[in-house]
């Protein structure tokens, strides 16, 4: 086997071990590489930051445990920002029923940190199937879609919900999503009812939603762990996403290195064999 063939046929298990090390070592010995804030993340932060105490944000945590690594830090950061400013939060989880647990986990963590009370400072409405119908119903009246909250309390008995009827009573809707539900929010809540929409998505989905930023249909967009780390930096509360960014950078560098190695091996190998063309 020639050197070029060896360059192109490194055992994938060696690559897996190296990728694992590139993630583990920076977690143990942080490199503290800088996290630059992009304008799409900053726009969402600034929108929420301009809200006054008592204003209401609708936060839909539309992800489940499979995308928790990216979405949970975003959700916790936005909740921290809202709670630190005295903004009230209505939380839903409309993508999948499996998301109820992760949504409640994020909400409970942030609420405990800021000593916020269920029913007074936040409401967890839970899950209902058929997101489009639920989103449209909430546009008319939250009570149509959710007569009770997740814990079974009637909406009429929840102090925070007094005077809150529909999207006209909320300042912004933020969806943190690991699925295509963002389209549904943009189409129905944003398009039909005119509520400003912000979004946080997994990195694999991010490129699909830049079109909404350019058209002004999204206020801001957080993309993957990087977006979460940027938000943590903006709220001055570095946490899991920030800690993970060193590993993310090192893994990317390693992948780029091996892509270069593989390509060098491919092209030099072809030249050595005298093959022309692509």
């Amino acid at each position: 086997m020639s050197i070029y063939e060896k360059m192109m046929s490194i055992d994938r298990r060696v690559l897996f071990v190296l990728i694992a090390l590139s993630v583990v070592i920076p977690l143990l010995k942080p490199l503290l590489l800088p996290v630059n804030v992009t304008k799409e993340v900053k726009h969402l932060y600034e929108f929420v930051d301009k809200l006054k105490p008592g204003d209401v944000v609708l936060l839909s945590l539309d992800y489940d445990p499979s995308t928790m690594a990216e979405c949970q830090p975003m959700a916790i950061s936005i909740l921290r920002q809202c709670f630190s400013k005295g903004i009230k939060v209505i939380v839903t989880s409309l993508a999948r029923p499996e998301g109820l647990g992760t949504a409640e986990m994020a909400l409970t963590q942030a609420a405990q940190e800021y000593h916020k009370k269920n029913g007074n400072d936040y409401v967890f409405l839970g899950y209902k199937p058929n997101a489009a119908a639920v989103i449209l119903a909430m546009g008319e009246n939250f009570r149509l879609a959710f007569p009770n909250d997740y814990y079974g309390t009637s909406i009429e008995d929840i102090p925070m919900m007094k005077g809150i009827k529909n999207y006209r009573d909320i300042k912004i809707l933020v969806t943190i999503s690991g699925s295509g539900i963002i389209d549904t929010w943009v189409i129905y809540a944003g398009g039909r009812y005119g509520v400003p929409v912000g979004a946080g998505v997994t990195a694999v989905m991010a490129t699909d939603y830049y079109k909404y930023l350019q058209s002004g249909q999204l206020v801001g967009l957080l993309g993957g762990l990087k977006g979460a780390a940027e938000y943590e930096k903006l709220i001055k509360h570095p946490d899991m996403a920030t800690k993970g960014m060193d590993g993310q950078n090192m893994a990317h560098l390693l992948i780029v290195f091996f892509i270069i190695i593989g390509n060098i091996g491919y092209f030099l190998g072809k030249r050595a064999k005298g093959i022309k063309g692509r």
Partner: protein
Amino acid sequence: MHVSSSIGVWIAAFLTLFVYSFLYKDNPFYKFAEHLVIGLAGGYYIVTVWFQILKPKLISPLFQQGNLTLIFPLILGLFMWARFIPQYSWISRWAIAFTLGVGSGISIPSVMQALIIRQIQATMLPVNFHSYIGWMNLLIIVGVLTSLIYFFFSAEHKGILGLSAKIGIWFIMIGFGATFGYTVMSRVSLLIGRVQFLMTDWLGVLH
């Protein structure tokens, strides 16, 4: 170092390791974890649908509070089950037709407005050559038009059409490249999440 004493954390940690063992090669531990997650997700879904939807939205209001209007959705729902009986499977089409009719009526105007008209508006941008934004606007317009031309198959891609399609494919490739980069980032993020769980919640070597 403070190793977790929670049995739940230990189970989650071992299941994580079982799943990652697939990277070496397929094995019974991976298969066990795979089957477990499918079974759990199915069970969790059924329980959630029962307690969050069927019971509070249908069973209790209909049979305990006597809200008879709910008979209509109940019957439509039952029609869907007719698919399992070949000679009566046509009945399920009524429920499907109702869902499609309502869904289309609600979605078509909104989707047209949000996904087509707003996106076309967003491409009608002022172009000038004296500012950075003016150049970027030109880039967006050229990118949209040439990418659309690439997908125009009613004429042979020759001459100006061929050139535009070639430029279009470059824009599309750049889009694919960005998507691939983000996909890599996403997958690495998932690994980071699991490693953080193992090192923080399980082994306690990170805080």
